[in-house]
Symmetry: D4
Subunit: 163 residues, 8 copies
C-alpha cells in the first residue's frame, strides 16, 4: 500500500491524479491530511507506524516551504516521494528546492512541480521491484504510452495531409 | 535566554556572530546541535520544553531545504528566528524561501542569508519589549551605529581631501 | 498594540487577514497608510513615536523594491515584521529579498510572500512573551489548528471510504 | 545491484560519495560512463538490459541540460535516481529542474544538487523494501546518525561551557 | 524539408506559427509527434533516418525538462533548433536552460521561450545558405519587416498628431 | 522634448502612462515605433539625429531580449531611460537584466518592470536640472504625492474607526 | 557636482571606478558614507540639502536589500543613479530588483550590478545636457571608445595573422 | 568561412575553444573585435558585408546585457550563433535570456553559457548541409565522441575492478 499525505485540503486537486494512476495499476493507497507544522505529533506518529501498518512507499505533496516530505522522510526508512506544489506567486520555484535540497542523510525522491502522476508512477516503479505482476503491468503501460504517442502522431499527420 | 540551534556543526562559523551580538547586549544564550531530519525526536523534545526551561526566543540556522526553523516553530509558541545559510551552489537562493515561505499558521521570522547578526538583533528587539534595560542598551547601540557610520564618513572625507 | 503600515491602499486586500488574526487573539491594532518614498517624513515621525505611543510591534507590507519595512525598522527599536507583497510580474521574487536581505544592524522579521496571517501570528508570538493570557490563547489556537487538520483528515477519509 | 551512470568522468568526484554509501550498506554497484548525447545507442542498450542483468535501481548524475537520468528512465521500468550536478556558472540551478521537471509518464527520483550521498541512500531505501537485513541496517544507520548529531551537540556544549 | 517534432499534442498551439512561417517562405515541412521519453525508439529511428529522407533541419519543441531537442540532436548531424515551451508554473524558466545548456559535443540552436516563429526563421536562414531563391525571399522579408515597423510608426504618429 | 521609442505597438499600453506623466508636467514628447532588430537603420538614424532635433532625453521600452534601450544609447550621448516590459512568460525577469546589465561605456538608466510612470518622472528629474519652472512643478508634485498618501491614510483610519 | 553615497566602506572598491570616470570628464564630486538604515537622519539631511548645496545628480551604491538609492530619491528631486552591488551569495540578484523596482512616483536610474563606471557615465550624460563643453567631451570619449575597440580588433587580427 | 565576433578581448579565453573546433573540422574562420555598443557603426558595416565577403555563419559571444548576437542578426540574413558568456556575478543567468529571448523576426541560435565548442559545432552542422566532406567529417567526429565515452567507460571499469 502507498500512503499519500497532504498538509491541507487545498492541495487536493493537485494530488488527485496520483490516486488515479495507482488505481490504474491496482496499487492500494490511503490518503491522509496531516501537517508537518500544524499537527507535527500526528505526523510523527503516522511516519513511525507507516512501515508496521504495511505501507511500502509514501507520497507527500507540499507548496512553499514544503517541509512535509522531508519531515516524513526523517521519521521512516520507507522511500518518500515529494511533490512540489505550485502556488500562485512563485509557481513552485520555492517548493522544488525546498523538497529536493535535503541535507545528506535523509533523501526525498522529488518529482516535478505538480507532478502527482509521476509521483505515483515512481511509487509503482519502486513497488514493482518486488511484484512481478506489477512489473508486467508497468511494461504494458509503457508500451501503451508509446502507442498513445504513435496514435497522436498518426492523427496529426492525417489531419495535416488532408489540409 | 535565547536558544540557538543548528542542524550540524558545518553551520558553526556562519552562526557564531549571533552569539557575539547577544554577548554584547548581555543576553544569555545556549547553543545546540539538533537536526530536524537526523534527530527529529530530540528536536521535538527541545522545542516542546523550550518555554518551560526559560527560553524566550529561538534562533535556528539552516541551508538547502532548511526545514529546521519551521520544524522548531511548529512545536513551540516562542518566536523563532530563521537564518538561511548559503551553500556553495545556490548561495542561499534555496534556503531563503525554504524558511520564509511557511504555510499560514506557523510563522518564522526570517532574516537575510547568513544573517546571524541580524537574527541576534531581532531576538534582542523582541526581548527588549519586556526589559527596559535591554531597550536602553538597544537605543544606545543604535546611536553608536549611527556614530560608526559618521566616523567612516569623516575618515573617507579626510582621506579624499588630502589627496 | 500592533501598528500595521502599508505604503498604498493597493496592498489593502493582501494585508487584511493580519487584522482578522489580531482580532481573533484580542490584540489591538492600528492600520496606517504611510509611504517610505512618497511620505518619508511622515514615516520617520510614525516610526520614531511608535514606542512612546504604546506600540509593541510593527507590521509593514510592501511589494517590488519593498523598502517600507526596512525603513521603518531603521527608525525604531521595536520589532518590525515585513510582508513581501506579490506583484503581477515577479510574484514577490523581488520583494522577498528586498525585505529580508537587510544589512547587519537593522533586522526585519520577514514572513512569506503575501503572508499577512503569519505576520500577525508572529506579532502575537512576540507579544505573548509578556502576556500570559495571550500565551494561553496561542497554545489553545495551536491545538485548534491541529484539530482542524485532524478534522480535514477525518472528512477526507470518510469521503474516500464511501466511494 | 545498483547501476551508477555518468556521462563523463568530469562528474566523477561528485558521484564518488554514492559508492561509499552503498559500500557502507553492503549494496553491490557498478559504475559506468555512458552519455545520453555522445553515446545514445550504448545508453539505450544499457537501460534496456539493466533489469535482466539484475540491476534493481539506477543512479544517474548530470549537470547543465542534464538529460541523462530522464533518458535512462525512458528506457527501463527500474526506478531511476537523478543527481543534478552543479557547474561553475549556475550552480545546478539549471540541472535541478532539467532532471525533476520530467513530463507525465516517466518519473525521475530527483535528489538535491551534488546529492550523491542521498541518491545512494534513496537506492538503499528502495532496495530495503525487499531485503529485511538491509532494512535493519537502515534503521541502525538512522540511529547512528541521530547519535552523531547528539555527539556533536555534546562536544559543542562542552566547548562552550569551558570558555 | 524541415522536420518539426513535438512530444505531445499539448504543444501544438505553440508550435503552429512555425509552420505558417515555413509556408510563407515556401519551405516544405513535416510535423511529427514523437516523445523522447514515451517513444524513445521511434525518436531514435526518426533522428537517424532524417538525413536520408531528405530533411535539412529539425525543429523540436518541449517544455519542462525539455529533453526532446537534445535527444534528437544526439542522433543526427542535422542542425536542430530547440523551442523551449512555457508551462503554467515556471513559464519556461526551466525549459530554456534545459534545452540550451547542452554538454560540449552536441549543440542545440535554442530560440526564445515559445519562439516558434523564430525557430522557423532560423531554419530558413540555414536553408537559405544553399538556396539563392530562399535567400532572396529572406532579404525581401526583412525589408517588409522594416516596412511594417515604419508603417506602425506612421500610424502611431498620425493618431497622436490628430489628438 | 522627450523621445519615446517602442519596437512594436504591442508595448503601447505599457508605455502610455509615460506620456500622461509628461503631459502632466508640461513636457513635450514624441512617440515613435522603431525596432532595434527589424529596422536597425531607422533606429540608428533616429538616435544619431536625436540631439540635433532638440531631444533632451530618450525613453525606450522593450521586453524579452530588450535590446532597444541599449542600442539607442550606443548611438547618442543623450541620457536613455529603459523600461523593461513584462511578457507573459517570465514577467520581465529577462528584460530587467537585459536592459540594466550594459557593458561599461554605455549606460542605460533602467527603471522597474513596466515602469513607464517612473521612466517619465526620471526624464522630468533630468530636464528639471536646466528648467527652474519644471523643478518647481516637481517639488509641488512631490508634495501632492505625500498629500495623496496622507489622504489615503485619513480615509482608511476613518473607515476603520466607523466599523 | 555629483554626490556619491555608500552605506558602508565595504562598498568602497566597487564604487571607486565612478570617481575615476568623473575625474576623467572633469566633473567634480563628493563621496559620503551615510546609511539608509544606520544613519537615516543624516541621510535625510543629506538628501534634502543636496540641491541647495549645488549637487546636480546623486549616485548611490548598495547591496542586498539595497534601499539607499531609493531612500535618497524619496527626499530630493535630483536624479538618483543606483548601483546594485554584488554580494558573495546572490551576486546582486537581490540588489538589482531592490533598486530598480521602485513604486510609481519615485524613480531610481538603475545601472548594472557593480556598474560604477556606467553610473558615472550616466551622471555625465545628465550633466552634459546643460554643459556644452561636457557634451563635447562625451562625444570625444565615445569616439575614443570606438577607437579602442578598433585597436583591439587590429591587435587580435595581427596576432592571429602571425600564427 | 565562419565569422567570430566578440565585443571586447575580455571574452577571448571563453571563445577560443570555438576556433579549435573549427580548425579541427578544417573550417576557415576570422575573429573580430567589434562592439554592439562602443562601435555600432563598425558592427553594422561588418554585418551588412558579411555575406558578400563569403561568410556563411556568424558566431558572437557576449555577457551581461549581451546584445551583440542579436544586433548582428538584425543586419544580416546569415545564421547567427550566440554564446552567452558568464560573468562573475550572475554566471550567465542574465546573458542566456538576453541572447535567446529575441523578438519574433530576428532569431539567434543560442547555445549554452560559455558554450564556445557547441557554437562552433553548430556552425559546422550548418555548413555541412552544403559540404559533403564536412558532413562526412561530422559523422566521423560523432563516432569518435562515442568512442571517447566508451574508452572512459572502459578505463573506469578497469580501475574499479582492480580495487
Amino acid at each position: 500500500m502507498v500512503g499519500i499525505v497532504v498538509g491541507s485540503l487545498s492541495d487536493r486537486e493537485v494530488v488527485a491524479p496520483a490516486t488515479a494512476v495507482l488505481d490504474e495499476f491496482g496499487v492500494p493507497w490511503e490518503w491522509r491530511v496531516i501537517s508537518a507544522h500544524r499537527s507535527p505529533e500526528a505526523l510523527a506518529e503516522y511516519a513511525r507506524t507507516a512501515e508496521e501498518r504495511g505501507l511500502r512507499a509514501l507520497i507527500a505533496a507540499a507548496g512553499g516551504a514544503a517541509h512535509l516530505p522531508g519531515v516524513l522522510a526523517a521519521q521512516t526508512i520507507l522511500p518518500v516521494v515529494g511533490i512540489p506544489v505550485a502556488d500562485r506567486n512563485l509557481g513552485g520555484l520555492d517548493a522544488l528546492p525546498s523538497i529536493a535540497q535535503m541535507p545528506p542523510g535523509i533523501p526525498v525522491a522529488t518529482v516535478g512541480i505538480d507532478g502527482a502522476r509521476n509521483a505515483a508512477l515512481l511509487a509503482v516503479a519502486i513497488l514493482a521491484l518486488g511484484d512481478a505482476a506489477l512489473a508486467a503491468r508497468s511494461r504494458t503501460w509503457r508500451r501503451s504510452q508509446a502507442e498513445g504517442v504513435a496514435e497522436a502522431d498518426r492523427r496529426l499527420r492525417e489531419e495535416l495531409a488532408s489540409r
